[in-house]
């Protein structure tokens, strides 16, 4: 299994990539997700403004629209289905009757709003993150106030997940060629044994890797060869400020 699929759109010389560092892009993603996710209910104009901003991000990041559509579609069922129950569960004047179910006006509005907010947040994060290499993203995460153990887990996890995946593939192939046709419960037992074997090997590998890291002078921090990009924060600050202004406008829109 290759690891390039996550970085497919990362190397582009887009408007965004030339003006911001990975760390700054992470902040932009966070700002956009928070603005979309926490936009107060009923602030339709500001939500529309945010949608325009996110749409502008597409050409700025040089990301093909169908790629975004595909990645959003993958996340879609997880917020579409819970949201679609709202028209039936939030009380209010009845809009329409579908069989035994009543569609309520406020519920439908609420569902539409949540779907819009979730879509915007997912789109913004996808646009910004898919233009950033995972390794760059991981070292950018190091600058967030996260415990060192979490970021190093992510970095080492990314480094070794493909290896373990290949190992699982091999054991799976061996299992299929030897086990023949088995009932469902036997299959579950066999797959569970495969997983147990993988966890065991991962544990042993961790011990070996620790020895190797120590012999190379490991000092509680994973080194990176890539020099930090030397860019001023002007552009990223502007983008974050515009997003923050749109969110503030949403607050004002609701209160008036």
């Amino acid at each position: 299994m290759g690891f390039a699929h996550l970085d497919r759109y990362a190397g582009r010389h887009s408007w965004l990539n030339q003006r911001t560092t990975p760390q700054q892009r992470l902040w932009i993603a966070l700002a956009a997700a928070f603005a979309a996710g926490l936009m107060p209910p009923g602030a339709w104009l500001s939500l529309a403004a945010l949608a325009i901003l996110v749409a502008l991000g597409l050409p700025a990041a040089d990301l093909p629209g169908r790629v975004l559509a595909r990645r959003v579609a993958r996340a879609l069922p997880f917020f579409l289905l819970p949201a679609l129950t709202l028209p039936f569960s939030i009380p209010g004047p009845v809009l329409a009757e579908i069989g035994p179910f009543n569609l309520s006006g406020p519920g439908t509005l609420r569902a539409a709003e949540i779907i819009l907010r979730a879509t915007l947040a997912v789109s913004a994060v996808t646009i910004v993150i898919s233009t950033t290499r995972v390794t760059d993203l991981l070292s950018a995460l190091d600058t967030l106030p996260l415990p060192n153990l979490v970021t190093s887990s992510l970095a080492l996890g990314y480094r070794y997940v493909y290896l373990l995946n290949d190992e699982l593939d091999r054991t799976g192939r061996a299992l299929r060629s030897r086990a023949g046709r088995a009932g469902k419960l036997r299959l579950w037992r066999a797959r569970a044994a495969t997983l147990a074997h993988m966890f065991l090997r991962a544990h042993d590998r961790g011990t070996r890797i620790h020895a190797a890291m120590l012999s190379r002078g490991y000092q509680h921090r994973l080194p990176t060869l890539r020099p930090p990009a030397n860019l001023t924060a002007t552009w990223s600050l502007t983008i974050v400020a515009v997003i923050a202004l749109v969110w503030l406008a949403g607050l004002i829109e609701v209160s008036t």
């Binding site: 993603a29 996710g37 926490l38 179910f101 309520s104 997912v122 415990p147 147990a196 961790g206």
Partner: protein, 310 residues
């Protein structure tokens, strides 16, 4: 399903869960450093990789659908509750940032639900059960499976509670939906975890994490009792939700005016069958519909995607 997306939580719930998750993460990092010292980084890194890899192994369920391990309680049984918490936190962050699975505003809530309930609470139940049952690979496996089941249900309960607090749906309804969904999901998760722990305990029993602090037996019994009470309370809420809601509506005098409950799916099923049987049917049918919907959408989407991404 356990991952709450962006847009579902209000600012106050997001802020509260973030604060709690941050405090727990800092505590977990300190505890893990104390226990594992220098080896912590590679051990946790490999555990994170193993959880991600394990999630790609499919277990056939029924009618062509399949599920995979989530892994919170399993990691805690292997590496300890706090190391497990950090591993699951890393997994949740990666899912939110790279795979758009779960929102960034809901990150705190998702860490609490998946890492906190899955690893820390799951391990607590596992620990208490093994104290009672004693050693042995089969006993460990059964204890792990039971702990996983309760941890999964509690994950759902926490998510339902947060959604209810955010005003997405009335808390009882959100709680009912999430708890009953996870009550089904937990069966598969518990079975897989039990089988994996059984295989591991046979192959290399010393790999299972052993807590250094021995708790007094009374504390263990009290803890287990509390969990059992909580589970009972949750099932009670789930089974009486529509009735209780109607009661509240009548008490407040808006049973006819504002309430749409008679038109809600639960109420519709309840009118066909009386009493608890109707409620149970409603819940089961609702979950089945949800499952079928998710499965159909996921299948349609993978079919759409396949030619490009193969």
């Amino acid at each position: 399903m356990a991952h709450i997306p962006d847009g579902f939580l209000t600012a106050s719930v997001a802020a509260g869960t973030f604060a709690a998750a941050a405090a727990l993460t800092a505590y977990a990092a300190r505890k893990t450093r104390d226990g594992l010292d220098d080896r912590a980084a590679p051990t946790l890194g490999l555990a994170t990789a193993a959880v991600f890899a394990a999630q790609t192994v499919n277990f056939p369920v029924a009618a062509g659908t399949s599920g995979h391990l989530l892994g919170g309680t399993l990691v805690a049984v292997l590496f300890g509750p706090w190391a497990g918490f950090l591993v699951m936190t890393a997994v949740v962050i990666a899912q939110a940032l790279i795979f758009a699975d779960g929102g960034l505003t809901a990150l705190g809530a998702n860490v609490l639900n998946i890492a906190g309930m899955g690893a820390v609470v799951g391990y607590g139940i596992y620990y208490a059960l093994t104290e009672l049952t004693g050693a042995g690979s089969r006993r460990h496996a059964v204890a792990a499976a039971i702990a996983t089941y309760f941890a999964t249900v509690l994950t759902g309960a926490a998510a339902g509670f947060e959604l209810g607090l955010s005003g997405i749906a009335p808390t009882r309804i959100a709680l009912t939906a999430m708890v009953s969904f996870h009550a089904l999901l937990g069966l598969a998760e518990a079975l897989i975890t039990g089988l994996v722990v059984f295989a591991l305990a046979r192959k290399r029993p010393n790999l299972l994490f052993v807590s250094e602090t021995a708790l007094p037996r009374t504390l263990v019994l009290v803890g287990l009792g509390a969990v059992a009470c909580l589970a009972g309370l949750l099932s009670l809420i789930a089974s009486t939700a529509p009735d209780a809601l109607e009661r509240v509506a009548m008490d407040l005098g808006f049973a006819d005016a504002g309430s749409n409950w008679e038109g809600a799916p639960l109420a519709a099923y309840r009118t066909w069958l009386p009493g608890i049987a109707g409620t149970v049917t409603a819940v089961v049918l609702g979950i089945a519909l949800l499952f079928a919907g998710v499965a159909a959408m996921a299948r349609a989407l993978t079919r759409l995607r396949q030619p490009r991404e193969s």
